[in-house]
Amino acid sequence: MSPRRRLLGTQVRTLARRSVVRTLRQPAQLVPAFIFPLFLLAVNTGGLQRATRIPGFPTHSYLTFALAIPFMQGALFSVMNAGTDLARDIESGFLNRLALTPLRGPALLAGLLAGAIVTALAQATTYILVGLVAGASFAAGAAGVAVIFALAILITLGFGAIGLFAALRTGSGEAVQGLFPVLFVTLFLSSMSLPRNLIHTVWFREVATYNPVSYLIEAIRSLLITGWNAQALELGFGLAAAIALAAMVAASVALRNRLERT
């Protein structure tokens, strides 16, 4: 391995460790990312169980239907956590300290996202365990659970990179936190609560159809309800990868602009 590549690996590992340590040392930031989605899951499951009686509803268990939602909500928290951490680094001048080292941009972004991915893995484990205990079904079995983990990581990468982009563009933790409600609205304007074909309000169905979040949820949902659905998985993984790629590119450009170093 070339010394340059070895250094890049060291930098990614070092920043990833820092990101994980920071995440673990901020319980106030970490706990809501676990509790809030589970709370909403409980409320939705309790209140909307009768929706399963609607003709054409894909399952008799609203818990199984709704279990895909916490993964998206968890990913939204990664926007805030990764973005806020980076914004703090900008505000405190820590980013300048990093810029004075031979640190390369991709190493910084990858390192910063590592904390979000560790959190995403912990969240996914929690949601799946809660789902199992509460009686949700996993139609695709253990392999499907592994695919859910993979998709959760990809979604977190994309949303985390959106947080990094916002932090790099604005340099402000408040601005990153302001993004959270906006993104949360995109979650509600998706097929989160009902399958798209059962949404009767035309504009809502149209919005949900164009909303990529619908397909991310439906990919996870397919593994829980129907088993292996190639189309749903292709769409889910394809869109998640596209979001991740676009957000990473945008964050890389924003990083280059933010670090004016020569």
Binding site: R13, V21, N96, L100, T101, P102, R261
Partner: protein, 341 residues
């Protein structure tokens, strides 16, 4: 130090303009020799930090050129960064990490061999007296501890040139003295060139081999502290009469010894034509005129006097004052380099 020696830092007509703002740095020239401690003195907003950011490659200049450690700051940024260490204005530390974790991070990012990282970290923690506190989160450190850690982090890769941007701002006297000692040691024992910005006169006076005074983005004076003070020339004497009604006769007596200069509201001051030797004569003249004295003080010229002479303002609080109109018309101080150095 003469400009003919090979420079650790050199800048020529360096300019930085910001959108919708004034020229933060307005054509400065610098020549800092290896092993020299160069004090960059000026009030808030004078352009010190902007200059530092340009020299450390964190901000591209709008015009002019600069070389640090022999490398061009625009075209050879990575080579410059490899040669320098910097502790910028705020102690940029992560409050959630410990001192030792900061060391690990910095040594790894600089690419020190794995076997060397821990030893280098421990060596620096020991040197700055933070070994005991190394496993505590930095969020609980005092200002002085943070500044010392900041300095140590700037040294992990053994830089030849060290940039310190207002390293003692906000520190108590003991912490300040400890940092001065360490900076002096780095220059004297390790031959590190230090570029130090400060708004503290005493810091520049005590620590710097040479001082550049910057105001409104321009260097208004440069030289050793002694040279700069000698430009002002002579000391002044200030006398406060016991009876305020005697200020008139007092001024007449003092006028025999030199030209008037700034004084406290109750006093009269003159710059002594004959230097300190005139003081005894002044006392005898006051006695002869039966002027009772409440207070008499000899002022040796300070760097503040230099600043006052060059800008018409005192350095103390100068950054908080509105920019005087005459600043724009002030003569560009051409004599800042060779004339005084």
């Amino acid at each position: 130090m003469t400009p003919s020696r090979p420079a650790s830092i050199e800048a020529s007509a360096l300019v930085r303009e910001f959108k919708k703002g004034p020229r933060a740095v307005d054509g400065i020239d610098l020549h800092v020799a290896p092993g020299e401690i160069y004090g960059f003195l000026g009030p808030n907003g004078a352009g010190k930090s902007t200059t530092t950011l340009m020299l450390t490659t964190l901000l591209p200049p709008t015009a002019g050129s600069a070389r640090v450690a022999g490398y061009d700051v625009v075209r050879e940024g990575p080579a410059v960064r490899a040669a320098i260490g910097a502790a910028l204005q705020e102690a940029a530390l992560d409050p959630l990490l410990t001192g030792r974790e900061h060391m690990r991070l910095q040594t790894a990012l600089h690419g020190l061999p794995r076997a060397e990282r821990a030893a280098r970290g421990e060596e620096l923690l020991e040197r700055i007296g933070l070994r005991e506190a190394a496993d505590r989160k930095v969020g609980g450190y005092s200002g002085g501890m943070k500044r010392r850690l900041d300095l140590a982090l700037a040294l992990v890769h053994r830089p030849r040139i060290l940039f310190l941007d207002e390293p003692t701002t906000g520190l108590d006297i003991q912490s300040r003295a400890a940092l001065w000692q360490e900076v002096s040691r780095l220059a004297a024992d390790d031959g590190v060139t230090v570029f130090l910005t400060t708004q503290y006169l005493e810091e520049a006076d005590v620590l710097a081999d040479r001082v550049g005074i910057i105001d409104h983005g321009r260097i208004v004076a440069e030289g050793t502290p002694a040279q700069l003070k000698s430009q002002i020339g002579r000391p002044s004497v200030e006398v406060v009469p016991l009876d305020a009604g005697q200020r008139g006769p007092l001024a007449a007596v003092l006028a025999r010894f030199g030209e008037p200069t700034g004084a406290s509201p109750n006093g009269v001051a003159v710059r002594l034509r004959g230097g300190e030797r005139d003081l005894a004569e002044v006392v005898r003249a006051l006695d002869a005129e039966h002027i009772a004295v409440e207070h008499i003080q000899l002022h040796a010229p300070s760097l503040d006097d230099v600043f006052l002479a060059k800008t018409g303002r005192s350095l103390e609080g100068a950054g908080d004052q509105p920019q005087p109109e005459e600043a724009a018309n002030r003569e560009p101080i051409a004599a800042h380099s060779g004339a005084t150095a």
